[in-house]
């Protein structure tokens, strides 16, 4: 199963490297939204500074929707889904492979976004152990839930337009927890930060487990 997952993840990353959809479309979009927020919220009055954590994660969620869409668009092309079913790879392996590739892509995106925020919003990333912990846990959760919804949206006629409506409310607790975790990490909010990371961890574990179990019916029947 590990072998199958690694094969899927490697294939997805190679596909991304060849097509560069994430790098040439999603990444610029994310940076663009960072700039748009600066136009919308007056940067001189400290609004941006106060809203940075929230904006960061909102951009991550929007970009994640695009990344998930792309990740499953390639599986929908030209009968590939049937071919995958014919390989005998276990659905859980396919799922974990998709998740792993999504995690890598999202982590790259978050790194670039962090840089953009540091430059444009003048953010200093203090309390970095918490910031890193929150980022990893949140990314796992987003990818875990995202892969399930990406797969089911790919099976529906107007699935792509429906994906944000399905995925974003589910990720609301991730947005809340990751934003609070960052706030505490940045020292803007008092209180313990690690419980937020723990909540994100629980979200990730729950959805990874569910996803691995539910991918079989999603992949199997037509």
């Amino acid at each position: 199963m590990i072998r199958g997952a690694a094969l899927m993840a490697g294939k997805d990353l190679r596909l991304e490297w060849r097509s560069k959809v994430g790098i040439s479309q999603v990444l610029p979009f994310a940076v663009l939204v960072v700039l748009l927020f600066a136009f919308a919220l007056d940067p001189d009055r400290g609004v941006l500074e106060r809203a940075t954590s929230g904006l960061f994660w909102v951009v991550v969620l929007f970009s994640a929707v695009l990344t998930v869409q792309r990740s499953f668009a390639v599986e929908a092309e030209d009968g590939v889904l049937d071919a995958l079913r014919l390989t005998g790879l276990s659905p859980a392996a396919v799922y974990l492979g998709k998740v792993a590739a999504l995690v890598v892509q999202l982590l790259v995106l978050e790194a670039v976004l962090a840089l953009a925020v540091a430059v444009f919003y003048d953010t200093t990333f203090r309390g970095w152990p918490l910031v890193v912990g929150v980022t990893f846990a949140a990314t796992l959760g987003i990818a875990g839930a995202g892969a399930v919804y990406g797969a089911l949206a790919a099976r529906l006629r107007s699935g792509n337009t429906l994906l944000p409506l399905l995925l974003l409310p589910l990720l609301a607790p991730v947005l809340i927890s990751a934003t609070r975790g960052f706030e505490v990490g940045f020292g803007r909010e008092a209180g313990p930060g690690w419980p937020w990371a723990a909540l994100l961890g629980i979200f990730a574990v729950v959805y990874l487990t569910l996803g691995a179990a539910l991918f079989r019916p999603l992949l199997e029947d037509t």
Binding site: L15, R18, S19, D82, R85, T87
Partner: protein, 217 residues
């Protein structure tokens, strides 16, 4: 010996439509069977059912000894299906596609390269992305990916479509070899002259059922 394909009154539904409306069919090991019939007769559905991709709603269905009614996913790894779609990732190169699909079934990547040679896919094409290939070239690559799996049952949906004369000859040769080596071939085709020359036997499908059986010329 148990036939490789054994269908009795097999019904398959596409949503509510009975695309297969009670098919009776037996195919023995090493046989090459042509399935002919008009558009919409149920040929593609028949092949997809045998591949374990579509559920059997009622009747009996056994392929390679696997009961398709209960365990259809167990048969998938052992069959090779060539469909209307290419089953290839457009943005990956020919070689990358072959490597991925052979590894995914646990076959060796060398088999993939060998299959590309058999299908006469020129080495200069190996590093091109699939989207840069012509339809006929893609068809050959799909066929190579199927052959590399070393399937026990070949399920070919119009294998001659979109190929030039050389390509068709290559495929007919492969079908003959496969049967000689003990594999079983079930294929649908509209190129009757060519297909009947390859096939041991022809069955005619229409209205989701087998109308007639007969030995090929």
């Amino acid at each position: 010996m148990e036939p490789v394909v054994h269908l009795r009154a097999a019904v398959a539904l596409l949503d509510r439509f009975p695309a297969l409306a009670g098919v009776d069919l037996d195919v023995d090991a090493g046989e090459v069977v042509l399935v002919r019939g008009p558009n919409g007769a149920g040929k593609t559905t028949l092949l997809r059912v045998c591949a374990g991709l579509l559920p059997v709603a009622s009747g009996e269905a056994r392929v390679l000894g696997v009961d398709l009614v209960r365990h259809r996913s167990d048969v998938r790894r052992r069959v090779g299906l060539l469909g209307h779609a290419t089953f290839l990732y457009e943005d990956l190169s020919v070689a990358e596609n072959l490597d991925f699909w052979t590894r995914a079934v646990g076959a060796s990547t060398d088999d993939g390269r060998a299959a590309l040679d058999r299908l006469a896919v020129a080495p200069r094409l190996h590093d091109l992305p699939v989207r840069a290939l012509s339809a006929g070239q893609r068809r050959r690559v799909s066929f190579a990916a199927m052959v590399a799996r070393r399937p026990e049952l070949w399920l070919l949906d119009e294998p001659h479509a979109g190929l030039d004369a050389t390509g068709r000859d290559v495929i007919d040769g492969l079908i003959g070899e496969a049967a000689a080596a003990g594999a079983t071939v079930l294929f649908a085709s509209h190129e009757l002259d060519r297909a009947e020359a390859v096939a041991h036997r022809t069955v005619t499908v229409s209205g989701g059922a087998v109308l007639a059986e007969g030995a090929s010329r």
